[in-house]
Symmetry: C2
Subunit: 252 residues, 2 copies
DNA sequence: CGTGTTTTTGAGCCGTGTCAACGATAGTGG
DNA sequence: CCACTATCGTTGACACGGCTCAAAAACACG
């Protein structure tokens, strides 16, 4: 599936995309680029003339800290544009890197911005995306601040699983190949690897969720989301989430 | 100063505001409302038809958690519109409340959205705001996750002080009446009141910053920002920050 | 002046980090 | 196809940062 189509598909999760808007997006010049795991797309402090769109695999953004820890501040699924913020601030304050082997599209920031500005509907759609990103950020703040390790971890798993479902990444059996290492989960949650491991064990022993050979399987969605205090509506995946909620693999 | 002017002033921090845009904003119907400390503007889960603009005082947004803790996820200075996110998602997932006695303006969300959409420059300006909000969120994630209590607290103080300066809230002597209680700082930082208190003492004893009778005084900006790992550029207060940097009260 | 809130301090405990080691798994080159 | 090696996951022991409980001091307000 070409880049523009993936983008369109994702936008369609949140509302109708008109033929006009589709044609605008299809006109974008997008250059493919393969990334290996851990490959850096954009370095903290750099200025960038290009935007990135995720085609397959996952990207994440992190801030490297003086105490040589790193904080992962966001995770990006196929169809997403991780660096929209460079629209108005060409310097970025975090490093964008590939979580696993990924295929991304590189496009001119100016061109994308121009294209978006040609359609009020597209402007709305992208602006809306950044607001949803904000809602996700707030949840991460809460997870890292006051939810505690178990609820925080559960919340992250719920969020990632829901977003993975929306990106159509679940297998028939409802599992998802979680590309994060436990170290990376810890970097996102502000926990040590060791404690992430223990927390995952607790979730496993409580029959809430299990990661087996890299695949995340939610054993009991009600239990997991209760532990997390997770309510997916902030992700605004209305229609799509509904598709999964009614498909009998345990969402809801 | 009328509401629209405060809004214009703030937008002007980030770039020129044309007369056309000003006239659009001045046409907005804004109803004043006084708030006492802790008064709730918008409750978690509510749907809102109105937007709020802060005129004086401060607002904050928090998420209440099942473990009866609360996480403050954002703080809002005069000139800001805390609930822009309701543009595309009428339900809000956090409670918006007044930190101290405040004056806000209430305006129709639909009308504001309409007004903004009439000017590409305004659209850009507001979208840009939400992206800056995102940059702030990322910093809070990092503070709550991996910076540790001392650096996290210092970072929050740096951020609030810088934003207070941009909102022209500093006294001649460079102090600012920090309206947060230590409990609220803790709610923002994911720390207990007790520990916030101890951390502030450490900052005080290190001659970095001191809160005396509710006023925050930065004793040594270089030291405080070094502890925090703070770099104000993510706030994009370019010109304005420069004004303070050269005013000899210790910023830079 | 009295009452409620906020700040400050102490003492003790618990969650989470650190260190260290081993096991599992996957990729690599012979 | 099998060592070899690197990375990741898992577990235990122990230390420490930050939480809880509790109470006093400072402050704000009517």
């Amino acid at each position: 599936m070409p880049f523009a189509e993936r983008l369109i598909d994702r936008l369609a999760l949140f509302g109708e995309v008109t033929e006009f808007d589709k044609s605008l997006l299809r006109r974008l010049k997008i250059r493919p680029k393969r990334l290996v795991a851990d490959e850096i797309v954009l370095e903290q402090g750099e200025t960038a003339e290009h935007c990135v769109i995720v085609q397959s695999g996952m990207l994440a953004a992190c801030q490297d800290l003086p105490n040589n820890k790193r904080q992962i501040v966001s995770a990006h699924f196929p169809g997403e544009i991780p660096d929209i913020q460079s629209f108005f601030s060409h310097r970025v304050y975090h490093t964008l890197f590939a979580i696993n082997e990924a295929l991304v599209g590189i496009l001119s920031r100016a061109e994308l911005k121009q294209t978006i500005s040609e359609s009020p509907a597209l402007t709305d759609a992208f602006w809306r995306q950044t607001l949803i990103d904000g809602a996700i950020f707030r949840q991460w703040i809460t997870s890292n601040g006051n939810r505690g390790s178990l609820a925080g971890t559960a919340h992250l798993l719920c969020e990632l699983m829901t977003r993975a479902a929306a990106a159509n990444l679940l297998s028939n059996s409802g599992t998802w190949t979680l590309p994060f290492t436990q170290q990376q989960l810890g970097d996102a949650l502000g926990l040590s690897v060791v404690h992430v491991n223990r927390t995952l064990r607790t979730l496993r022993e409580g029959n809430a969720a299990i990661i087996e050979s890299g695949r995340l399987r939610v054993l009991d969605w009600a239990k997991l989301s209760a532990i997390a205090g997770f309510d997916q509506s902030y992700l605004q995946l209305g229609t799509h989430a509904h598709r999964f909620r009614t498909s009998g693999i345990g969402f809801g």
